[in-house]
């Protein structure tokens, strides 16, 4: 990362996160009750959120590298690199079992605090602890 652009990078991340957080609050994904309604298949709103978000992002990921030589403040476009191996799938099942217990996933835990939903501090603490347990005892460097 060229140091000259680091402030621009930080402000870009702040602006992008702000749009993301606004969308999470608008779509009520910050309300665990709405997530739990979906998981009981009483309200399909979450699928619309995922479709709207992934659809918009798919267009950007497909088109921007052709429309722009490089990102505005960085030398190259990164690629999402998920790996097809057992931990990816087992981890997803563990994630799902935690998600159904709390109705909270990592983004909404942070954004929810911005809607005054203070009990989500416990979710943030739990998410940090879970990520720490993984990094400290399970992950291989």
């Amino acid at each position: 990362m060229p140091p000259v652009s680091s402030r621009a990078i930080l402000l870009s991340a702040l602006a992008a996160g702000t749009l993301f957080g606004f969308g999470l609050a608008l779509s009520t994904m910050v309300q665990p009750e709405v997530i739990l309604q979906f998981l009981l298949l009483n309200n399909m709103g979450l699928l619309l959120v995922l479709a709207g978000a992934a659809g918009t992002t798919a267009i950007a990921y497909a088109l921007l590298p052709h429309l722009m030589q490089r990102p505005v403040f960085a030398p190259d476009f990164k690629k999402h690199a998920a790996i097809l191996k057992a931990p990816t799938l087992i981890g997803a099942a563990i994630f799902g079992s935690g998600w159904v217990l709390s109705g909270v996933c990592p983004g909404p835990a942070i954004a929810g605090l911005g809607t005054g939903n203070w009990p989500l501090l416990l979710s943030v603490a739990g998410l940090l602890l879970g990520a720490w347990i993984h990094g400290r005892f399970v992950a291989k460097p």
Binding site: A13, T28, L50, G98, G112, P119
Partner: protein, 158 residues
């Protein structure tokens, strides 16, 4: 007969527009920085400051922890912005018991890091770039959560 109101008892517009807004955030990050904007990495970034354990001080993590923290700060700021504009200043306080918020967080935090992504990293970024592992991960966490929810309801929970 299943109507729109049956599947979307709380309406559908705010879900779709909110989702597009989320996608625009991830797209803006990509256009300006080229980065892929999953959220669970922000927890690893925070741990690089909170823990001295070597795993949380890998070059790959430390090199991006500053922008990840700003991304997380933006999530909070965006929700505050919503609350004082379209949200008319109304706070929402969940009634989910505190122990469930905490215990669910531990499992979800562990699982997301083991899996290499969560609802945003796999669900939005991975699906948007057509990554098979991410698509499988999304199907697995949705299925696990939906089946568990129904099982718990059948056993008298919720």
């Amino acid at each position: 007969m299943h109507t729109l109101a049956h599947w979307f008892p709380l309406g559908w517009r705010h879900f779709l527009f909110g989702g597009i807004c989320i996608g625009l955030g991830v797209s803006l990050l990509f256009a300006l920085t080229g980065f892929i904007g999953g959220i669970s990495s922000t927890y690893s970034a925070a741990l690089s400051w909170l823990s001295t354990f070597p795993y949380f001080h890998r070059e790959a993590l430390v090199s991006k922890r500053s922008w990840l923290m700003m991304y997380a700060l933006g999530l909070f700021a965006g929700a505050v912005l919503f609350t004082f504009t379209l949200g008319h200043g109304h706070a929402f306080i969940t009634r989910v018991p505190l122990w469930r918020l905490f215990a669910g967080g531990i499992l979800a935090g562990f699982g997301a890091r083991m899996s290499g992504g969560c609802t945003s990293g796999h669900g939005i970024c991975g699906v948007a770039s057509g990554q098979l592992p991410s698509i499988l991960a999304v199907l697995i966490f949705l299925t696990t959560a939906i089946l568990t929810a129904h099982l718990v309801r059948a056993l008298g929970g919720f």
